[in-house]
């Protein structure tokens, strides 16, 4: 089975986000594989263990993102592709990423029976790249899966729908995106990391891909980046219950402006 995993290197979930000149400050920050993508990697390795084949991990990112690929290889992925699109600067959105991924799969002649992605990246949280990529490749996709079974050509998944489960059947080739609960990602073993160092890694830049820069630049524009307002201490109302209720409605209407 040929398995592709698209992954992103993101801030460690425990990092504090700070802004500098209207941009997110990356200095001294620890990066990890986006946690949802980690489920995708784990599932890919499980599929390989079950059916044999090869797992290729693909990422778009700067030099440092190699670390994420090496970690995935230490978990058991066989090879990696990293695409550097820093030339585009900030002109990047989900549309761009999906286009570049599709072009990379074509350029590198990566055969696939299944493509796994995380359902969203914890940094910008758009949850678009997987479905967009499936569209470009003209294959079916199912997002937020929590269980995956493959039998011959038949694919059966449990899909998380806001806490409920939908069971969906489809066929290979397919793209699925991983939701929490799909599996428990293994620790990459230390010997695995030493071996990962020697696994093949292809580096690509935009020029290597058959793409028109005009067409792939972002279709959205970021106008401002700001941190959410600090949580205020709660207000405790006092007095007669009837007065409290009146006061509460008044506050909800005039201060919080939610009703």
């Amino acid at each position: 089975m040929n398995i592709l995993v698209c992954l992103k290197q993101t801030f460690d979930t425990e990092e504090k986000i700070t802004l500098e000149n209207g941009r997110i400050n990356e200095e001294g920050v620890e990066f990890v594989i986006n946690p949802y993508d980690e489920y995708a990697v784990e599932e890919a390795i499980k599929l390989k263990e079950q059916f044999g084949g090869e797992v290729t991990v693909i990422t778009i990112g700067p030099e440092r993102a190699e670390q994420a690929l090496r970690t995935a290889m230490a978990m058991g992925a066989d090879k990696g592709v990293i695409v550097d699109i820093e030339d585009l600067g900030d002109n990047v959105d989900e549309h761009t990423i999906a286009q570049v991924l599709a072009a990379t799969i074509k350029e590198e002649d990566l055969a696939f029976d299944i493509i796994l992605c995380g359902y969203m990246a914890i940094d910008d949280g758009s949850a678009q790249v997987g479905p967009r990529l499936a569209e470009l490749l003209e294959i079916p996709h199912i997002s937020t899966i929590t269980k995956l079974t493959i039998d011959g050509n038949k694919v059966t998944v449990d899909k998380d729908v806001e806490g409920d489960v939908e069971v969906i059947e489809s066929t290979l080739p397919i793209l699925v995106t991983a939701q929490q609960g799909l599996n428990e990602p293994r620790y990459p073993s230390l010997p695995g990391i030493m071996k990962a160092k020697k696994k093949p890694l292809t580096r690509l830049e935009l020029d290597d891909l058959d793409l028109d820069e005009e067409e792939i630049v972002a279709k959205t524009e970021t106008i401002e980046v700001f941190l959410p307002p600090k949580k205020q201490a709660g207000k405790i109302l006092q007095g007669e219950l009837v007065d409290q209720a009146k006061e509460l409605v008044h506050l909800l209407r005039n201060e919080a402006k939610v009703i």
Partner: protein, 385 residues
């Protein structure tokens, strides 16, 4: 001059950090109370490959440089020292002798199983009447045909309760003093090998040090480690190279204590403001950080020297001594900053304070390290003429 770790070492370090944080730290209080490391944690550490960091890749380990090992030791120092000690003694004094002095057959027999953690390693030098004066050991080994018959006893042997492979020093020629000592690889199930009681200790719970008794213990001649008569020097070599590793473990514990202390000092309010705003407290933190920074530089420099093949007798003694003293100073300040909470057994700080204490004693006391440094100074002075 280069002060950065190789990329793959950074990755290893990060994985071990996550493992320690997610799997060991949450059970640290349990280890302390039960005096036992949960089997699950040990099994996970085996899966991770932690038991193989000092063993070459061809025998199933990681074959890490001393710098690489120190990077990992630093991370495992950031949790319960009983766990740290299990891994530290196994990957240090418990295996390094076989890695460095073993024959091909010995390496093939022992290292793969030690790399996977199936066989735990221990190092048995100290005896009731020979501690600092290790050359005075009384355990004897007498050759009979194709075996040695060993008689005597050892005590305080770390990991002995669970270990399978022991590097044992015994006297083969009493007339020759230190040059009459030989090292052996002894397996737990060799006839005549008896593990005695487990020592009750002030700290380092979950790490089990025991007495050993050898009653006509039979060891095949092919289990001599290195050459006959070189056992004492082998032991010193194994201990010397391990010293940067012990310092790195202490470094991790110190960093843990500093981080906890800063956090606490920012949160704890007395006299209407966080105690960190008291200069007396802030200065304690500054002194801790200063000590830690010096220890970090020294540790990685000595490790680097070991990797370059530079002789490090004096430097190894210095880093062992400094690492232990810094750990004790830092732990003392951490308790002080935490006040009553620092003394409470329901909080981890006092545990580190107790666990720090052993580092000034085992693997050569602070006094012995000073003796070594002094002797080397005199030697160097005389050499210069």
């Amino acid at each position: 001059m280069e002060f950065t770790l190789p990329k793959e070492i950074e990755t290893l370090k990060r994985i071990v950090r996550d493992f320690v944080k997610n799997e060991v730290e949450p059970v640290a209080m349990e280890i302390e109370e039960k005096n036992e490391i949960p089997q699950r944690v040990i099994d996970l550490a085996k899966e991770l490959g932690l038991f193989g960091i000092s063993i070459p890749e061809e025998y199933g380990g990681l074959g890490l440089s001393m710098v690489g090992k120190c990077a990992i030791y630093e991370e495992i120092g950031k949790t319960h020292n009983g766990f740290t000690s299990l891994i530290g003694a196994h990957t240090g004094i418990g295996t390094v002798g076989i890695v460095q002095l073993g024959t091909e057959e010995q390496k093939k027999r022992y290292l793969p199983k030690m790399a996977s953690g199936q066989w735990i390693g221990a190092f048995a030098l100290t005896e009731p009447s020979a501690g600092s004066n290790a050359a005075a050991i009384k355990t004897t080994a007498v050759r009979k045909g194709d075996r040695y018959i060993i008689n005597g006893s050892k005590h305080y042997i770390t990991n002995a309760r669970d270990a399978h492979v022991f590097t044992v020093m015994a006297v083969t020629d009493p007339a020759k003093g230190p040059k009459g000592i030989t090292s052996f690889i002894v397996e737990r199930d060799f006839p005549g090998f008896i593990v005695g009681k487990t020592e009750k200790k002030m700290g380092l719970h979950g790490s089990h040090s025991c007495e050993l008794f050898f009653e006509d213990l039979e060891v095949p001649v092919e289990n001599v480690l290195g050459k006959e008569g070189e056992g004492y020097f082998n032991a010193l070599k194994i201990l010397t190279e391990g010293r940067a590793g012990l310092a790195a473990r202490n470094l991790g514990s110190c960093q843990y204590l500093l981080d906890r202390s800063i956090q606490y000092a920012m949160e704890r309010v007395q006299f209407g403001k966080p105690i960190i705003e008291q200069q007396a407290v802030l200065h304690m933190l500054a002194d801790m950080a200063l000590d830690i920074e010096a220890l970090r530089s020294m540790t990685y420099r000595v490790a680097w020297m070991v990797d370059q093949g530079i002789k490090v007798i004096k430097e190894a003694a210095m880093v062992k001594l400094f690492g232990s003293e810094v750990y004790n100073r830092v732990a003392d300040k951490a308790v002080q900053i935490h006040g009553g909470l620092g003394y409470s057994a329901e909080y981890p700080i006092e545990r580190f304070y107790r666990d720090a204490r052993i580092t000034k004693i085992y693997e050569g006391t602070s006094e012995i390290q000073r003796n070594i440094i002094g002797t080397q100074l005199i030697k160097e002075y005389k050499k210069k003429g």
